[in-house]
Structures are given as C-alpha cells and as structure tokens.
C-alpha cells in the first residue's frame, strides 16, 4: 500500500464519515420538518373543519347574563353559579318570537320551560311556565305577564323573576329564537312528531320568511305520527289558535318537540357539530360554557324517554283566568299550589 494513500483514504474516510454524518443529520432534519409540516397541515384541516363550531360556540356560549333592567337596575344579576359536579341542576329555556316585527332587544319570551337535569339518576323534569301568568317582575317589582320579564331586562330579569316568584334555583339559561328552532330541527335531519289532534290555524303568523312579518298563513297539520322538517316543526310547536287549550296545549307540544329533537339528536356525532353550530349563528344563546355544553351531550343521550317527567299547569288549582286585567287577558297565580308543585319537582337541596 503506497505511503500517503492512507491519510488520503483516512481523509477520504473522514470526509465520507463527515458527509454521512451530515447527510444523516440532514435526513433527520428533513424528516422532522416533513413530520411537522404534515402535522401542521393535519391540524389545520381539523381546525378548518371545526372553525365554524368554535367561532359559533364562542359567540353563543358563555353569554354574560345582563344584570339589572330598565325598571330594576339592581335586579339579581344572573343564574346561580354552577352546581357541584354530578349534582342536579336547573336550566331555564327561553324561546322568543324574534321575527322582524321586533327589534332584537325587544322580544318577549313566548316559551319558558324550566328543566331539571339529574346526572346521577339520568332523569329530567320539564316544567312549563304559562307566558300569561301575572307575576311580580324581577326582584319584587310591579306585576306584569311573565313573558315581559325578558323584554324588560333580558335573561337576568327573566331568571330573577322565576327564581323569586317560584322559589326555585336557576343555574343556567338557554335562549332560542324562531330561526334557531327551525335550524336545530333541520340540522338533526328532521324529527318525528305525533300530532295529538288535527291542528288547523287560519291565522298563523307568517313572519320568518317573506317581506311582511304581519302576514298570516294557513296551517294544517294532520293528526298522528309524522316526520317534519324545521318549518313544520315550528308550526307544530307555535300554533295555538285552533286549540281550546291555546297556550297550555302549546306548552305540551313544545315539551314533546324537545323530546323529539333529543331523540333525533342522539345520532348526531362530533363531525356534525360544525354544521350545526355554523347554521345556528345568533339563533341560540346561553350562559353555559363550551365545556359545560359539551358535557351535557353524553348525558342527553343517556336519558331515556321514561326518565323524563313533563309538568304542565292546566288551570285550577294553579291559576285562574282574568280576561280583562288592565286590558290584558292574564292568568292569576295561586302561589300556594304552584310552590307546592315546584318544590315537588325542583327541591332546593
């Protein structure tokens, strides 16, 4: 072996080793960059997919419960703080006719349903409050129909009214408008309802589409089981003219529709959330956080029909009608009877 070749070879070997080492580091670096790039790309895909849901959820959930009202600026601020984990809690469902007849900040609550959810027993109680009930508004303010509380001071006033008048705790609230209900039903791919009687309403408000919100529509819903999309579901839950029980029958239908929506929503998965959240937009608001809403989803699936108690006050002994109190047709409460009923289903401890 000629002298001098060794160092060359050594040098060559060294260079080769250095090149190999450098190339190895280079490969690792490239692989890491590629992995990071693909990871980032995948995360971007996930984020892009769920972005509408995240955006809508941030917008709709965790709403501040506006404190006070025009007439009662010191009214109780909001729903009671969250209960301990796994303890029963109460949610106030508020529904408004928020069509273009009214400014967004000037709507009544046509629907008020107090819901008690017991995570331990996986049971639910739904208690409808008649919108025409004549009650002290807010913290013992002047009396009015209870549906005016939300108009007077938003969710805070509505909750303060319910808490003070019914001796019940409200932990959270959820508000939904007309369009929100339509969207929810469409997003769960329609619902099956069972119309307990033919529903005929020649003067149903034609106010969620068209140009004149004061127009009327003719509605005919045949009796029996049937599958309906959002608009028909709204007509079913909202129509009251063709029923001798008027608002009270409407309360029954609204509770039933909630159960029907829950049944259809059982098949909704995580991948459906962006579509649903995106379509709801401003149509739903709640003071619950995103995580609290998310924690309710599996619980909702776990509650069976037989574990749901529907409570509706149908007149005597809970209230009497006064067709002309200050020019209004109202329901005068019998608080003794009402408090007895409420304490039965919504115990304070």
């Amino acid at each position: 072996m000629p002298a001098g070749t060794r160092p060359r070879r050594r040098r060559a070997g060294l260079k080769s080793h250095q090149t190999s080492f450098s190339w190895g580091r280079h490969r690792v670096l490239v692989a890491a960059l590629l992995a990071f790039g693909f990871g980032l790309s995948g995360v971007s895909g996930v984020v892009a997919y769920f972005l509408p849901a995240i955006s809508a959820a941030l917008h709709s959930t965790g709403q501040a419960t506006q404190g006070g009202s025009k007439n009662h600026p010191q009214a109780s601020p909001s729903a009671t703080p969250a209960p301990a984990s796994n303890q029963p809690f109460n949610v106030m469902l508020l529904g408004s006719d928020n069509d273009s007849k009214f400014p967004p900040s000037g709507v009544l609550t046509q629907t008020m349903i107090l819901v008690r959810i017991n995570p331990q027993t996986k049971s639910v109680v739904m208690f409808s409050i008649p919108r025409d009930l004549w009650v002290p508004i807010g913290d013992g303010g002047s009396s009015a129909k209870i549906d005016a509380a939300y108009l007077d001071g938003g969710a805070a006033e509505a909750i303060a009214t319910v808490q003070n008048d019914f001796n019940v705790t409200v932990n959270y609230w959820v508000w939904i408008g007309l369009g929100g209900l339509v969207q929810v039903v469409n997003d769960v791919h329609e619902v099956n309802i069972v119309a307990q009687m033919p529903i005929l309403d020649d003067e149903y408000p034609y106010d969620i589409s068209g140009t004149d919100p004061y127009n009327q529509a003719r509605v005919a819903i045949l009796p029996g089981p049937q599958r309906v999309a959002g608009v028909a579901a709204l007509e079913y839950a909202r129509s009251r003219h063709g029923d001798v029980l008027s608002d009270l029958a409407r309360s029954q239908k609204q509770q039933q529709l909630l159960l029907d929506i829950k049944a259809s929503a059982n098949d909704v998965g995580l991948a459906d959330v962006p579509t649903i959240a995106g379509s709801l937009g401003n149509a739903v608001k709640t003071d619950m956080s995103i995580t609290q809403v998310a924690s309710l989803l599996p619980l909702a699936k776990a509650v069976s029909d037989g574990s749901v108690k529907q409570v509706i006050m149908l007149g005597d002994p809970y209230f009497t009608s006064d067709p002309d109190l200050n020019g209004q047709s109202v329901l005068l409460p019998n608080w003794t009877a009402i408090h007895g009923l409420v304490s039965q289903y919504f115990p304070t401890s």
């Binding site: 895909g45 309403d201 005919a220 991948a271």
Partner: protein
Amino acid sequence: MRRLLPIAAALALMAVFGFAIYSVLGTLKSNKHHSQKPTQIQALIDLPGTVDVVQNGDIYSLSNLKFTQLKAPAYDWVQVEPAPGGDILAVAYNAMYSDVYLLNAQGQVVRLMLSESSSQYFNNHWAYYPRVSPNGNTLFYVQDYFPPGGAYNVNFQVRAVPFSDPTANPVVWSEPGLYYQGGDVEPIPLSNGGIIYAKYSVDTSGGPTDGDTYARLVYVSSPYATPDYLTTEAQDCAEPALSPNGTEIAMVCSDNSLQTSTLQVASWNGTTLGTPVTISSGPLPASPTWSPDGKSVLYLNTLLTDKSSPFQLWWVPKATTKKPGAPQQVTADLNFTATSPPIWAS
C-alpha cells in the same frame, strides 16, 4: 430551481394532506337518517300485487321489489286512495289549500275532483282523506269547517259529494262537537251506507285528565245520525282501515301515551267492534292498509329500535288470526309520508 422542486412537492403534499383530513372529517357526519329515493333501492320483501305509497310529495308504485315513480304533475302529493277502475285519488298540497285529483294508474290526471283554492284568503280550504264508497257512487272527504263568529275555531268535518259530480253541494256527515278540538277525520265508507271516522276531543272536564287529547272511532249510519262510539277515550284510537270483506278493522291506538302506540285489529259486525288484538307494538305505527286478500296488514313505522328514524313500510302476516305473525320490515333507508296510507292492489 431543481432543489426547490422537492420542497414545493412536499408543501403540495402537505396541503393535500390537510384537505384530506378536512374531507375525511366531513364523511364522518351522521347520515343514519338520510333517506334515498325509492327508485334507488329494492324492497326487502316481495309483496304480491302493487303498492302505491308517497315520499317527499311524489307517488311511487312498488311491484316485484322495485319502485317506479308515477308520472304525476309536479305537485306536492299526499294521501293516495284507491278509486274505481284502477284509478287513484290523491291530495295535492299547497301552502294555502289542498285539492283532490283523480289520477290513472300511471299518475296522469283524469280530472280535478275537489278544487279548494280561492283568491279570498278565508275561502281557501283543506280537503283531505278522500275515500270512495264501496258502490263507487260517493266521494267522502274532510274539509276544514269555519263556523261564523270564531276566527280561530277551525275544525275538520266529514263531507260527501257524488263521485260523478264532485262540484255538487256537499252533504255534511259530521258536526265537530266541541269547538277547537281539531275535528273529524279519516272517514271509512261502509257497504251499508254508513261511515266510520275518527273524532278528536279535548278533555275540558277540569278533572285529573283535563287537557288530555284523545281520538275515538265513531260510527254513523247516515248524515246527522247520532254517533255511536266504537272505542273509548282511554284507548285513544284513530286511523281505521276496513278489511276488504268488511269484517275487520285495523287501527292505531296510543292508550293516551305520547311516547308510543300500537297497531290493533278488531272484528267488526257492522255495529260494534270486537276485542282488539295488538299486531304491532310501537314505536309509531301509522296508516294501516289491508292486503287484497284481507289476511295481512301493511303499514308505516319507524325502525323498532329507533323511534326517531324515518318511516318505512312494514307488514304483518296472518293479521286476523289469534297469533298474528311478527312485523316484517319491507323497506329500508326510505322516508315515506306517515300520514299517507299505502294502497295495496292485487
């Protein structure tokens, strides 16, 4: 430039990967309740004869496991009913009113039977449940009844016109007894000249059942005759279907339950019903119809384990025996209109 090529390729692949993730997530959406057009699937059971049924406003005919769509005008069709000569009656729904048409077996319009539209808002009407008498001479139907002085008080009532002259003044067969109760629906013309129909009522007694809504089957022998109640408030039965020989009635009863109902069959001797036998329990059976031989019942129902699913065709063999057969699912992945009973012809 050549050194940039792999980088560009890698970036492109990353973009494709991100989009793929986005797309894959989209495919994970719930499609459990997405339905297909009947013409895209085959029935699960080969029923003899032909069955006409309605989905999403279109009329389909099922024969030899396959559905074909009738060539009816592009109306929103509901409620098909058999008519003399192999024709069918069908209700065309409009946002303000509903008309009744006579169609041939292919779906082409033979004639407009009941025209209920008007330029005057309150003169528009709903016509539903068209049924032809056994002798083919009379067309029974229900129309919204708008009594004077009660703008909100609208109820269905049963009426009848000559089949050959449906523009004649209708004969009123039922008077909705209680205001705002929804009215009288689902007339079944009988060979003796009377009819059976479902009368809806609301309990306003002030008692424990105050506010409950229920349906009862009613028999009347002639217009204005005193109704005979065939079922009770507690049974809460509606949607009657008379067997071809006129001796059995299939009906849907809920026992005042909001959650579930049952399909029952009871014997009928012309004046009274026998003890009903349940042939299908829950979740939401609807719109029964009899097979041409009168031995089995076809109806609509959700999946037995999922009451939120769309309505499919179901079939109960040996429906008139003491031990009826188990309900059998005839279709899957469809979404039939549950308020439109199917027609089953031989």
